[in-house]
Amino acid sequence: MRNAKKALCGLLALLILALAGCACDQGGVTGGTKAPEGGGQAAEGSVQLLTWANAPTVNFLRALAESFHQSYPSYTLQVTDAPQSEHDQVMQTRLSAGNVDIVSFQQFSKPQEDWNAAAMDKPLWQQYIDEGLLLDLSQEAFMARFTQSAKQDNAYNGKNYSMPTSTVAYNGLFYNKAIFEELNLSVPTTWDAFIELCQAIRDDGRYAVITCGAADQWPLNMFATGIMTSLYGQESETIGQGLFTGEIKHTDPQILELYAMMDQFASFLEPGVTGVAYSDVPGRFASGKVAMLADGSWQAPTIDAANPDFAYGYFPIPGKTAREDGLPPQFGIKYDLAFAVAANAKNKEGALAFLDYFSTKEVYTDFLNAVGGFTPTQPDITLDNAFLNSLAPGLQKPYVHAEHRLYSPKGVGEYGGNGGFSFFYLKTLGGPFTYEELAQRAEEDFETARKAAASLTGR
């Protein structure tokens, strides 16, 4: 018996040693992402790039590593990706450890400023910059390759801390061209025409009208701000600030109009839409059973992958009336993948060399063509991607998407979530309130949060 115990103890000790050995071999695992080889230290000459999991982007960057090495033989690019939900945590961990050179952000928007500081915390990107963790790229030569507006929209304190590689349009609907042709429908240019089109598809009865990955909540709530973008255009900024400060109420007639449009939009979503997972929608749309898909332009490559022969287009949700300047309805955009360099990067020169290489016209064009859902932030880029080119009419005077103009005060109640415009509380989708009641609840929650913030800060 004693021998058996000794043998068991010996076996356990061996097992622990073996596991420890395995852990060392793998260089440790952080948030589901393999950390770089060599115990977390960046190898000399290697450039560590972290981004979020997006297959087309990650595949392109990995493929680019070889040509980058050929152009800059002293550097080797190593790309790691983290699931979107874990990306911020992984970035924080790796920035703390100092083992990442290039990190990825989306648009630098909604900073804490004097007018909102009493009821709003700093967003992550602003925290990083204020703490000196990101390098100022303003004076780098490669930044001159990007449009002035792209740099301006992402500047902080007059400086650029990121290289905004692209924009995405996301107040639009993918539509099935075959169904539109069959039902003799055309892309609408006013809200009323859009509603008529939805009604025609419903009356036909063979196809679901609109689907959306609503089970994940954000893909549907994104369309509340999408409709807001189309309805208010550039005014969204003033309205967003007014709603935050209380100068504009959710119950004001002009805002109730938005709620009414949300309610109309919700009434044409397919039955059971709140249970449809975001990951399932490209397949559902490409199967031809649904006429439209509410999603961002970034979804195009996934739809192509689901059914390469599927013919589809993408149009912006129209505003109430046609534009006075004669242009078709314009897209609401945001800046998507933006690269920043860690101030404590072990290989700062290598990181800057990569950004320089990436932003050369040839590589940059290849990137946009390969990824398929992003539109350029450099001037005079000619793409051979038919889908991206089809977006051009709606990108002549695009708006910054209202999602980046809408603020929620700290501690706001659940009805004030998504700026007070959450589809999920609407009776039309099985929630508890009519749109007028939801507007009332949202305003009450905003008011409560404003008062609580004022009582704590004395402002």
């Binding site: 939900s85 911020d88 945590q89 924080q92 920035l95 703390s96 804490q112 709003m120 915390d121 700093k122 967003p123 992550l124 602003q126 925290q127 990083y128 703490e131 000196g132 963790l133 609503a214 089970a215 909540q217 039955p271 059971g272 839409v273 709140t274 249970g275 449809v276 997972a277 399932d280 929620s408 700290k410 501690g411 706001v412 109640g413 659940e414 009805y415 004030g416 979530g417 999920f424 099985g430 929630g431 508890p432 929650d445 409560t448 949060a449 609580a452 913030a453 009582s455 704590l456």
Partner: protein
């Protein structure tokens, strides 16, 4: 003894005290960022700034979650343990393994199974409701304000029931067979044997299981995070602590997220959670000890 004490001091006591201290600071979690002592501000923010209605609801949900999981999980586990302890049952070792399996599968796998089960419009539950029960527009369970929370509770019970069952089985197997024989000779029925012999004999096991379930469910956030992400009125105190510290939805009582990194605030939330666990566990311990003494 020294290694044990050192382990406790370094890996248990020190982090706990540090968390308590950090809850009075505005530490962000950003490397190198300055932080300062802010007194009770984090606690004031939690209790005053947060929407009172949502906070009440979140605390209520946390209580319902803990109470339901503790009662239902232990009740089912006890019944199953008694059945699986019967010698006449064939293949009982297989059943024990099957009931314990969800515990081994881990949170991610269990969450995936649950999501597939309830997925809309192709999941088996949805199809059953529509095609067998004839419900015209079946609700999307996991994205419904009414049903998502009960579904998450059910997942928690399903996953951890096997663990309670194994502990009950260990307790049951310690009861000498002669006591049962004597009870049956005295003419006791199955029900009387359960109430007058089995339950009093395993009361200490019931206490252990109850306390483990209370503590586990009060702190639990993993299944909520992986199944609903704290949305659709499923955020509990444990979920709020996690989402505040590491980002994502479910950080506020209303299921929303907060801007940036705020680990000082997360520490304050975890101190509130700690206080809740301490109070509930202490009260439960007193009640269970009293019941044990009475039954003895």
């Amino acid at each position: 003894m020294l290694p044990g004490v050192l382990h406790y001091l370094i890996f248990r006591l020190l982090p706990s005290i540090t968390t308590a201290v950090l809850s009075f600071t505005d530490i962000s979690g950003i490397p190198g960022a300055a932080w300062s002592w802010i007194g009770w501000d984090n606690y004031r923010e939690f209790f005053v700034l947060q929407n009172a209605r949502d906070l009440r609801n979140a605390l209520g949900r946390t209580a319902i979650y803990a109470l339901t999981v503790t009662l239902v999980q232990n009740a089912i586990a006890l019944v199953m343990a008694v059945l699986l302890n019967k010698r006449f049952l064939r293949g009982r070792n297989l059943y024990r393994a099957v009931y314990f399996m969800p515990e081994i599968l881990g949170v991610t796998v269990v969450a995936t199974i649950w999501k597939l089960l309830f997925s809309t419009p192709t999941g088996p539950v949805f199809l059953f409701m529509r095609d067998v029960l004839g419900i015209q527009n079946p609700p999307a369970i996991l994205s419904s304000f009414e049903y998502a929370f009960p579904a998450v509770i059910a997942a928690q019970i399903w996953m951890h029931m096997g663990y309670s069952l194994v502990i009950f089985l260990a307790g049951l197997q310690n009861i000498p067979g002669e006591i049962y024989e004597a009870a049956y000779i005295d003419g006791a029925g199955e029900w009387q044997v359960f109430w007058c012999v089995t339950l009093p004999m395993i009361w200490s096991t019931v206490t252990v299981n109850t306390l483990l379930a209370i503590i586990g469910s009060l702190q639990s956030f993993e299944l909520i995070m992986t199944i609903t992400g704290g949305q659709f009125n499923t955020s509990t105190l444990g979920m709020m602590v996690f989402a505040t510290a590491f980002g994502g939805r479910g950080a506020t009582a209303g299921g929303g997220s907060i801007s940036g990194l705020r680990q000082g605030y997360a520490a304050a939330q975890s101190m509130v959670l700690f206080a809740a666990v301490l109070v509930v566990t202490a009260i439960s311990q007193i009640i269970m000890t009293r019941l044990e003494r009475d039954s003895a």
